[in-house]
Symmetry: C2
Subunit: 246 residues, 2 copies
């Protein structure tokens, strides 16, 4: 999967760093991107501070094909993501005429706080794939999402057609066997070096299984070879279940 | 809160980056640390790759008072956090005699995979505050936690007495008013520059309230001044509820 397209996610928000709110946007976006063949390489959760947002966005924008930010867009003093992205690329935040007209349609005469919601980094694109109510702001390879999960999901689904990588096949195998007994067998299938990625996830206090092993590949045949090899190493009564993602 | 002690959290795990598993350790640790007066400045989710773990650990260790890693310790090929932390500080991973004896007590004769679980960065401390079953590995200011949430929580609670900062007071005010109307009032209380941190969190489709505003400070009197000022700006029927954390 080394040739796959990559992504980085930047979660902007003091509320996540203080534990006030459980971030669910990461789980949603990573799962959606993975299922579309895009490999998320890193997630950063950072505070509502312009310089930090700028530094992270600049770095991610250079390293990954796609960057997704979540949070920090809105009318209040702590909504500084647009300023952060602007600073990252050395442009100014400017009022978008199109967004301004859309907001005026809703609020009639805009207060300064409402007008702030029309700001974009100068030169940004506005995406309204699938008829979003309010367009998504994109600057270069950076997609600027709201932090509110319901809104983020709607907007993400509207533009997800833009992200298509090679299909990744997945098998999950649940074992009623300790991880340290399975470990050498896993090392052996990793040693095949056939492009199959192997993960091992133990659980505690689960009456049904002790470890979930995952095997992933864009090559379904190589995947089957690895799965069969692994299953052949473990006594049948220790294999609880095998699940295919496709 | 600029003088508060700081922390960074590093979540090691491909399973989070592929969306296979929802990370809950961040939410747990950020909340616990916040309630103990420790300010979490950043969370990174990174893959099971030694070099990336090393780079992140080195960087965090220099920037923050405390570093917490989660995941990547165990017997399998993808458990490389100990190697990553070792590389970060230019030491070798070595077998800890104490951990080896504890594992031998459980498994009798150790397989290579089981012996791997006794490895620590050379010179690491083993913390067994509160009588943990298996000690926590600490190297300099880096606390190395397992990724399994139940184990992480138990170990965290065992050592949490080590983390004590100034108490942070919190008020949550729920408004049945749009964020763009509240924004100028929030800017006004931010403008007091009295050390009170103000956050604003809108929700959608909630019949009870539209925005939760948070005010935080180590100075309870300053906090009360800001809360009263804000409440005085908004008509009473728009104020749903005020909640104190203490």
């Amino acid at each position: 999967m080394d040739s796959a397209q990559t992504a980085g996610i930047i979660i902007v928000g003091d509320e996540i760093l203080t534990g006030m709110i459980q971030d669910t946007n990461t789980h949603f976006m990573t799962g959606e991107l993975w299922s579309r063949g895009i490999v998320v390489r890193r997630v950063s959760v950072i505070p509502d501070i312009i310089d930090e947002i700028a530094r992270e966005v600049r770095d991610f924008s250079l390293k990954y094909n796609f960057v997704f930010t979540s949070g920090g867009i809105g009318p209040t003093h702590d909504d500084v993501t647009i300023e952060g992205v602007s600073l990252a690329f050395g442009v100014r935040p400017v009022v978008s005429d199109m967004l301004k007209r859309m907001l005026e349609h809703k609020y009639k005469i805009l207060t300064p706080a409402q007008l702030k919601m029309a700001e974009v980094p100068e030169g940004a694109e506005l995406l309204d794939d699938g008829g979003m109510i309010f367009p998504l702001v994109k600057f270069r390879n950076v997609f600027i999402f709201p932090g509110i999960p319901e809104l983020l999901r709607k907007k993400f689904h509207a533009i997800e057609g833009r992200f298509i990588g090679p299909k990744i096949f997945l098998r999950k195998i649940y074992f009623d066997e300790s991880e340290s007994i399975l470990a050498p067998h896993l090392s052996e299938i990793v040693g095949l070096k056939n492009g199959v990625k192997v993960g091992s996830y133990p659980v505690v206090d689960n009456p049904e299984y002790k470890v979930m092993v995952t095997l992933e590949s864009t090559d379904n045949e190589a995947l089957d070879v690895s799965v069969q090899l692994l299953l052949g190493k473990v006594p049948g009564e220790k294999i609880v279940r095998v699940i295919s993602s496709d």
